[in-house]
């Protein structure tokens, strides 16, 4: 029983990270029709930016701040202006393909200019364990889950309770009408990209101490987050949250009770079932487009 409890807790911790990354997917899709196949690499890069700052002699707390700001500048503003804006004019598919190329470029750049080997990365979550219901539970897992949850709650509060958040939602739902009523749509879209960059930087800070900093660490994360976004509902932020947590727990339970070899197949099988029987996702809305 304690092993099931361990698995659920660590699954929720991993799922919180998937949720952060999946929320970024959904926000970018909703506001700008961007499917970012480099999202996994967006989680990988901030860790290396932080490590580069540490190597330059800065303390870790400063590296986190500088790394986060650099992530926002590169993965938010530069990504929007230099890739998304020029490519979106040609349609959603060319943009999606361009993000695939970006993914490869990012991986190879880190491999070339930093290292092909894994690097250690300090954790901001405390080490040690605490007893819950008689089972030792990792403080790191609880910390990751708590940080992830705080970010999600913070984001929800921003979207629901602030003027900017409501304007972002308006721009996502109907940009034409939003413009008419005076919402600065372009600024709201840019804000979405900045929020995505901040979310992936946070995800990077939480997951890299566990997975280690490596140029290829974005591959599985990106895939898991993509599946989570689709399973939950690609056009709903809460869908991304539910999808992320569900995939995190399911992955752990599959590894423990089905097989480690086939653990990756279980979320993929769920993805196929969802696409076949509920393509809008667990809590997503059906969308129709005139073609």
């Amino acid at each position: 029983m304690s092993s099931l409890f361990d698995l659920v807790i660590s699954g929720l911790a991993t799922g919180a990270i998937y949720a952060l990354v999946a929320i970024g997917f959904t926000l970018l899709w909703q506001t700008s029709q961007t499917i970012n196949f480099a999202q996994g690499e967006f989680v990988m890069l901030p860790a290396f930016l932080m490590l580069a700052v540490v190597r330059a002699g800065a303390p870790f707390w400063l590296a986190i701040i500088v790394g986060a700001l650099l992530s926002i500048a590169i993965l938010g503003i530069a990504f929007k202006k230099l890739l998304v804006d020029p490519m979106l004019r040609h349609g959603v598919l060319p943009l999606a393909i361009a993000t695939m190329a970006l993914s490869v470029a990012m991986k190879e750049s880190v491999k070339q200019f930093f290292s092909a080997e894994a690097q250690p990365f300090p954790s901001i979550a405390p080490s040690g364990s605490v007893s819950i219901l008689g089972s030792p539970v990792s403080l790191q897992s609880l910390g990751v889950f708590a940080f992830g949850l705080a970010a999600v709650i913070g984001l929800n509060l921003f979207l629901e309770r602030t003027s900017s958040g409501r304007q972002m939602q308006a721009a996502a739902q109907n940009p034409t009408v939003a413009r008419i009523v005076g919402v600065p749509v372009e600024r709201m879209i840019m804000l979405t990209f900045v929020i995505n960059a901040a979310l992936v930087a946070l995800a990077s800070l939480l997951v890299t101490p566990i997975y280690l900093a490596k140029f290829s660490s974005g591959e599985t994360l990106g895939q898991a987050a993509f599946i989570a976004a689709i399973v939950g509902g690609f056009n709903q932020v809460r869908g991304a949250i539910i999808g992320g947590l569900a995939i995190g727990v399911l992955d752990n339970l599959a590894a423990a009770y089905v097989s480690t070899q086939y653990r990756a197949a279980v979320p993929l099988a769920l993805l196929i079932v969802i696409i076949l029987f509920r393509p809008e996702g667990l809590v997503g809305r059906s969308e129709e487009r005139t073609v």
Binding site: D6, S10, A116, S129, S217, L253, A255, T260, R263
Partner: protein
């Protein structure tokens, strides 16, 4: 016109004559320079380069300079095979690597068919049981090391039940098969047999299974990066089960990646820069001076491979790529005669090695030697 032609021919002859006297010893190193095995291949490459630099600075081998080209297998056996084929097309004196046993398994037949000696880093038992007369190890095969591990776990750790965690590739399968046979001979029961995947990032489920098995000890046999991740997971889940491995679990890079999660882990190692051997300490200093980090056992393997070639070539007294394998079979190289070999070593007819080994435990981020296991012959 006649004079121009004569002068041209004379120049050409001089160039060829010069080439004959300055023939380089051309080696190709096919290693895991990226992918999951990047730690393995990068260390191996750096060890190779250091040895080549030292030998060339001292005048080369029989007056011939060593030149080495490095090819990346991307830790993928399919790519390794293609890279070895490309390497063999250039007729290398000796082929070095790969480090991953799965890659060695698919590349060895190519090298054997070409009659090129291959000195590699793989440890899977089956590699030297394929009847390949051109393949040589730089470290103990699993058939040598696993009996020592099993004996230590049964007698020193007093384990009656063990959990075996292994990586699902040729290296891991070979190690698991060999150790479970040894446990069986010693009456130690395997209560959990847990396979993991190469490149795996999340070990929460696997550690939970080890804890649930309530084994007396766990034998953990993964590649380097995965070893670091599982050690961190054991610490995260506050698992107190004693951990034992074979070389990879306590490698220098693993200790660096796992941090204090590596403390307490024990392993049998054939090669360690923490060994109380003067030549190894000196090698470690030279390596750190050149590369600014402490090498793991793969760095030592790459270094030794070059000195093996040097010893074999000096034994022959001439450059004969086809004769290197015969020169190595049955050869004992003493560290007193060939300091670069670091410890006395003997090669048998299968390409396996006999050399002293060590039982180590990680304390405060260092490998502490607990026992020295002497050379058998």
């Amino acid at each position: 016109m006649k004079y121009v032609l004569t002068a041209g021919l004379a120049l050409l002859a001089a160039a060829y004559a010069g080439r004959a006297f300055a023939q380089d010893i051309e080696l190709v190193d096919v290693a895991e320079l990226s992918g999951g095995g990047a730690t393995v291949g990068t260390n191996f490459k750096n060890g190779v380069d250091l040895a080549v630099e030292e030998i060339n600075a001292a005048g080369g081998v029989l007056g011939h300079k060593i030149v080495v080209a490095h090819f990346d297998t991307q830790s993928n056996p399919g790519v390794a095979r293609a890279q070895v084929q490309k390497a063999l097309d250039s007729n290398p004196y000796v082929l070095l690597g790969p480090g991953y046993s799965g890659s060695v398994k698919v590349t060895a037949p190519l090298a054997a068919e070409a009659g090129v000696t291959q000195i590699m880093g793989g440890e899977a038992a089956e590699l030297t049981r394929m009847g390949d007369k051109f393949l040589f190890r730089t470290s103990f095969g699993q058939q040598s090391s696993m009996p020592k591990v099993a004996k230590y776990m049964a007698e020193d750790m007093k384990a009656k039940t063990v959990a075996v965690v292994w990586v699902n590739n040729d290296f891991g399968k070979g190690g698991r098969d060999t150790i479970e046979k040894e446990f069986d001979k010693l009456g130690v029961k395997v209560v959990a047999d847990i396979s993991t995947e190469a490149g795996q990032a999340d070990f929460a489920a696997d550690v939970a299974k080890v804890k649930a098995s309530e084994a007396d000890a766990a034998f953990v046999y993964l590649n380097e990066e995965e070893s670091a991740r599982i050690l961190k997971e054991f610490k995260r889940q506050a698992a107190t089960i004693p951990l034992m491995g074979e070389t990879t679990l306590v490698g220098q890079k693993v200790i660096e990646l796992a941090g204090d999660a590596a403390n307490g882990a024990r392993a049998h190692v054939g090669l360690t820069t923490d060994a109380p051997v003067e030549s190894i300490r000196a090698f470690r200093e030279r390596f750190v001076k050149k590369y600014n980090y402490v090498p793991d056992h793969n760095g030592i393997k790459g270094y030794l491979a070059i000195y093996m070639i040097k010893a074999a070539t000096e034994k022959m007294g001439k450059l004969d790529p086809k004769g290197v394998a015969d020169a190595l079979h049955g050869l004992t190289i003493k560290a007193a005669d060939q300091p670069g070999i670091l410890m006395d070593v003997t090669f048998d007819e299968n390409g396996d090695i006999d050399r002293q080994g060590f039982l180590v435990e990680v304390e405060n981020g260092r490998q502490i030697i607990k026992q020295i296991l002497p050379k058998l012959h």
